[in-house]
């Protein structure tokens, strides 16, 4: 019987390639860190992008995110305390169930040390209004300055998330679900429940530009 040449070539190529396997050149500091790097690269990156720099505004950028904030968020997905958020059920409950506590901490470490995402410009008028709101709060004192917690440059602090460089559509959506109390964030709800839709778009455009 004549050996199918094409099939032979493809099979040989495939087996040779598969033999290479996945590799990571950087030595891992621990088993959990190695697992976190593997998961971040082969699973999380499919939505959150390489190193947490996502392309689609449906998925937040995780690069350089505050470590303790990120660990708390993943834990909230894992124990379903974030169950009110539509996206939590659609995407994250299942993914968070894959990781144990040590890997959650390691994933947070992994993303915290990634290069921060570059800010992206937009409508200058929108950004200027957003800057004023972010740095000074609303003129009628309804809303306190975002910078008072998230920092002048939007990098966050510990349990307070980094906003700098985040997708504006994602930030606006989060403010919307916090206002609707679909996302449990009592402190943030108290601050933003009076934000108007225009103000949400302005501040979201500003933090994206940082």
């Amino acid at each position: 019987m004549r050996r199918p040449f094409l099939l032979t070539c493809i099979t040989t190529l495939g087996v040779a390639l598969l033999g290479c396997g996945a590799y990571a050149a950087t030595p891992a500091t621990s088993k959990a860190d190695a697992e976190a790097a593997r998961l971040a690269t082969t699973v999380c990156s499919n939505c959150h992008g390489p190193g947490g720099d996502s392309v689609s505004p449906l998925f937040p950028k995780l690069a350089a995110q505050q470590q303790s904030y990120l660990a708390a968020q993943i834990r909230a997905f894992k124990n379903r305390s974030a169950r009110g958020e539509p996206e939590a059920g659609q995407y994250m409950h299942g993914m968070a169930a894959l990781v144990d506590d040590a890997t959650i901490d390691a994933l947070a470490r992994y993303y915290a040390r990634q290069k921060p995402p570059a800010g992206r410009g937009g409508d200058p008028a929108l950004i200027n209004k957003g800057r004023a709101l972010y740095l000074q709060g609303s003129s009628d004192h309804r809303v306190v300055p975002c910078a008072s917690c998230h920092g002048q440059d939007g990098v966050g602090n510990g349990p307070i998330p980094r906003l700098a460089g985040q997708h504006s559509a994602y930030v606006a959506h989060q403010l919307d679900v916090i206002q609707k109390q679909q996302r449990k964030a009592p402190v943030m709800y108290g601050i933003v429940h009076d934000l108007k839709p225009d103000e949400i778009r302005q501040v979201a455009a500003y933090v994206q530009s940082l």
């Binding site: 094409l6 493809i10 590799y23 689609s56």
Partner: protein, 461 residues
Amino acid sequence: MAGIRGRLVGFTCLLWLAVSPAARAVPAFARQTGQACMACHVSFPELTPYGRMFKLNGYTIGSRLRSLPVALMAQVGDMGVRKNRDDQGNQIVPKTHSAQLSAASLFLAGKISDNAGGWIQWTYNNLNVNNAGQTVGHSGIDNTDLRLVGRVIDADNTTVRWLYGLTLNNNPTLQDVWNSTPAFGFPFTLPPNMISPATATMIDGSLAQQVAGIGGYMFWNRSLYFELSGYRTADGVFSWLRAGQDIHTPGGVHRLAGTNPYWRLAWNREWGPHSLMLGTYGMRVRIYPDNTMPFTPTDKYTDIAVDAQYQYITDPHAFTLQATRIHERQDYAASFPATLAGAPIGAGPAPSNPRDTLNTTKLKVTYYFQRRVGATLAWFSTTGSADPGLYPPGSVGGSLNGRPDTRGVIPEIDYLPIPNLRLMVQYYDYQKFNGGSTNYDGAGRSASDNNTWFLNLWFVY
């Protein structure tokens, strides 16, 4: 009136069954990942960018299920043809104007390891029409895709630079991740036993569940995709990939000679909520004119296609566009000389020309709001060489002028009350059928007489 009321009652019952607590589960891959259908699908089966990566990763994302990774699918539909009688007054499409279970599928689908996964679909066709023209239930294998995958990761542990793998499947383009290619292109489901045009290109479903293909693919930097596969008739150790096919009746299936190449090249870009793909695919097959006579000379078909896909996906809006153009060169190296000599090969084609061409173009745009309510408009066209030997006159299925030219539009409206249930209304509006608009078959039938409406309930569990 009573018929309409009966259909409404039937659909209401099925809707109740679907939304009852027992039906709130999702299929095997969703159970594996813990994610919703919409993570991978704009609306099943059209894939999102993440859905494409899930497939290219060999269905390995998530945890291997401890229970048997099975899923179910069923379709119940009702349809009607504008003129469902031929020139002799005989009914053409059976079981119209009544709600019918058209098909049910069982899937075995899931992750095997971090480097292996796949799915096998077995389908029961409740409205299969046998050789005697009777409508009888029939089951057989459906689409199947098994994969082995590997990854090359950058030194900084951030990027999968090369994603590569092997696929074993039984339908050319089934393995593709863009919905501009035929196997998972629009329409995603058809009215059962609808009146079909005289011909289609080989790569456009003509070889489905008759062949076995093994291929290697590489996706570089989520930008460039390359695949090379070889297809052969699914016999020997691959015979399970065509289980249920009528392989013993002359003309029942296509039988390939040897291994036949399939290729795919695609450029992919994603930015913000947008994604764009531009690509080409094709295959060259050698086919025995009669599938029961695998010792004769062969005819050769070369399909070369270009395609494109654009998606804009946000919450709540999703807009998608797919287009493809397939050019087929048909070389009747076996059938033409035999026909010329007055002795066509078995049930094989009897072409009037030594070589013909066939061109198919498909364009489809879709909009979904909250992935719940959607509308699609599709346009399709097939043109080709005039060949009275291939397309002779004949009631309903024939062509008076010997041309395969067919053209029309398909509007569709979808509603998904829950993510795993789709209610759809589809309409096939033909402007041209088998070469003509009026009296296309030589028996007085117009293309618009074949216009078909289809009301369907599609449920996955």
